[in-house]
Symmetry: C2
Subunit: 456 residues, 2 copies
């Protein structure tokens, strides 16, 4: 929760009015809702601290209000008054008071006519409209609240990472080769050369292990997946950590502590918002750690679906195993380990006891994967073999391999998807709702049109 | 300063040994320096907390040490001992102790032969070598320290922005059009469409003003400038803030408070590093605010160079005016305002008293510009005219303009260059030294080679 402190000597914020009863104050904000009742008019004024009810019987102001669109920006002086008992609203932080305009009603910016009704608590718009009118719909509290929660997740992650002695690093997003393989990449014309947008900060954070041992970064990651699902963004935000001198079980300990600390922080800071979204408290019982095969066995026994032998968990598997974990371990989180080696990126350490399986893991949260990671291969020669075995050229990994050539401890790490965590903390239907400006195959701010298409 | 806390029950960190005198401890790290003296051998062990001296008379260990390259990773048990008085080193946090190996000396990772001597305090390498061996040279404390300071700058900025009620936002870096004009952009092949890397988070942070009033973001910015100077990176990190309901003088107040708070935090957290770099304490006297023309007048009077009427400050002007500010106002910072309107971006508000000049500003720090910003045009129609007057098409700004169409208060903001601040806090010769992985015309991790060049 942000403590709203006003830095302007004259203007007060909506929530500050609570301490100014019977005083005359200067206030500025957006007309969120206007109600004209003949000789008296009310409006809700919105500023960064919240909403406050304003009342006026001034004929000139009422006439002006009648000509204004909501979202217009106004400032005025008014007297703060306690509302009559029957008009008090316990659900609003300023619900006991209202402001009566005294003088100097000034329109700072006139809004155009709204394309839809902005004066309601829940907008209930379809996703394309939510995105076509992004800067407008975000003026709805409930939609803006998604990004208040997101800001808390970022802060919670940083605090969690720093409590583990990790130092923040800044990593680049332009890469000379399509290094990680797998998912598709976006090419960049880099001066006279071909370059690519990085699919993750992975290789860079690993390179920092011999320097700082423990690092974290919050980085953009780009995936040119030619699909439009509710779970994927072409540009997303990763919260990454990498840890040296660590073995698999300690790595899992740190992973689980970091995500628990992050979620607890975000939950604590946003109790009211989570309540508005009708979200249950997160169950932080004890997080089960299951091998993929063990999870599949549970799904077979408890849910009667035989997915044993599959190389990954399907969407329904993730839902089922989370249901099982909540019921049996009071945990909204489950750690799944030991995915098949060939299904994971080249730098993933195979399990010494069974090379077909890997020391990899995902964290599931309320039915969906929000994190993955692994113990890494830290031996230079083994890493070169792993790169070659995936049909890639070690020459394209020159700087990365240098870190391993000159001494690298056992290490591992993980990555959290910021938008996915936001989405599942708030039970949103689509990850695009958890991105201020989502990028996908069909949209970069505006819907991409055929006539913007390349002539090639 | 990071408080180094060890999370591993067995391993202790170098600095923790200070509290373990006469105890046997498990320790892990990198061989930073090896000194063999016949029947006794010493080495410096480096871990994330620092360096500790290790001594051994064990013949087997000495033989093994003789065959190892520095930067190899080792673990062993040893007894912590107080050094004899004449061997104590007051300059080292572990200078009163050393560890004598007792047993279990294990080599975790063998380093290859060093391309240059890594056992010295100052590497004194040329920039291309610093970058060609990036992952190796960063193992030198003094070079890694640059990025400890950088992490503090990031943290200090976030705290400063949050203390002003700004909320963190995440903005995209892929844009559908080359929106800001001016500097060159990098094209991205975005599925079947043409897109571009954003030159700054500018337009997105402005769009958030009607929602959160005060926002900040730490974002990558891309400039395809075809020049290789010591001051420019093709991909850099901006610390941006944008503030609604603000007029020019209050905006300058916030700007100056944020940079002062950021620098003070970074200075406080890194006293030892700044002392190692022989950096004087930052002078935070009172920051002079000068119009460009006033600064030019001072340069003419005090330094005898007539740059009056020039449209911007040159490099020497920046140096001179900072010298003047330090001498006359005990300030390493100077705020310069009122640059010519046509020299600044389209969204810059012209001065109502003189449309040829703008309500824009730069902050200079120790002879170089580290920040710029302005009061913005917040009127929809005026903004459209400004876009057209620069020969750009308002259609390419559809979502941006939407924010202004539906009510926008007076607003302004600013941006700090993270790498530039790092560079000038530490008096580095080249901004590339202040980026872990600098991108420029000639390098993306490795030097770009002709045969990587596009065949087009």
């Amino acid at each position: 929760m942000i403590l709203y402190i006003n830095m302007n000597e004259q203007r007060i914020l909506a929530v500050e009015a609570n301490n100014k009863i019977d005083e005359e104050v200067l206030i500025k904000g957006f007309l969120q809702r206007i109600r004209l009742h003949g000789k008296v008019a009310f409006f809700d004024l919105r500023d960064r601290s919240g909403i406050i009810q304003v009342v006026t019987t001034d004929e000139k102001v009422i006439a002006e209000l009648g000509s204004l669109q909501v979202q217009s920006v106004v400032e005025f002086k008014g007297r703060v008054k306690e509302r009559g008992e029957r008009y008090k609203n316990a659900n609003l932080p300023t619900g006991n008071i209202e402001i009566e305009i005294t003088s100097d009603f000034e329109v700072l910016s006139k809004a155009a006519e709204m394309p839809f009704d902005m004066g309601v608590e829940e907008l209930n718009l379809q996703l394309p409209t939510l995105l076509d009118y992004r800067t407008l719909v975000l003026r709805n509290k409930k939609i803006a609240d998604i990004f208040r929660v997101q800001a808390s997740i970022l802060k919670g992650f940083r605090q969690a990472a720093e409590s583990k002695n990790a130092i923040e690093i800044v990593v680049p997003t332009i890469s000379a080769s399509a290094t990680e393989g797998g998912a598709e990449v976006f090419p960049v014309k880099y001066y006279d050369y071909d370059a690519y947008l990085t699919q993750s900060p992975q290789l860079y954070k690993q390179m920092m292990v011999p320097i700082f041992e423990r690092v974290y970064t919050i980085a953009h990651a780009y995936r040119a997946e030619p699909s439009v699902t509710t779970r994927h963004l072409s540009e997303n935000t990763q919260m990454d950590m990498e840890i040296g001198f660590v073995q698999f079980s300690e790595l899992l300990d740190i992973l689980e502590q970091v995500i628990v600390d992050t979620l607890k922080f975000a939950e604590e800071e946003n109790k009211e918002i989570l309540s508005d979204f009708r979200i249950k408290e997160i169950a932080f019982g004890s997080i089960p750690r299951l091998k993929l095969s063990e999870a599949q066995e549970i799904i077979y026994k408890e849910f009667g679906r035989d997915v044993r032998g599959e190389k990954d968990l399907g969407s329904q598997d993730e839902v089922d195993i989370c249901e099982w974990a909540l019921k049996n371990h009071n945990s909204d989180l489950v750690t799944i380990t030991h995915f098949p080696t060939f299904k994971r990126a080249f730098y993933t350490m195979p399990d010494p006891d069974d090379q077909e399986l890997s020391l990899s893991f995902d964290i599931l949260f309320r039915g969906v994967e929000i994190s993955s990671g692994s113990q890494r291969i830290s031996d230079y020669n083994q890493l070169i073999e792993a790169i070659k075995s995936r049909g890639m050229n070690p020459d394209n990994f020159a700087l990365y391999l240098q870190a391993f050539l000159y001494g690298m401890p056992a290490e591992g790490g993980f990555s959290f998807g910021l938008e996915r965590i936001t989405m599942h903390m708030l039970n949103l239907a689509n990850v695009r709702e958890a991105s201020l400006f989502p990028r996908d195959m069909e949209r970069v701010d505006v819907r991409l049109k055929k006539n913007q298409q390349k002539e090639s």
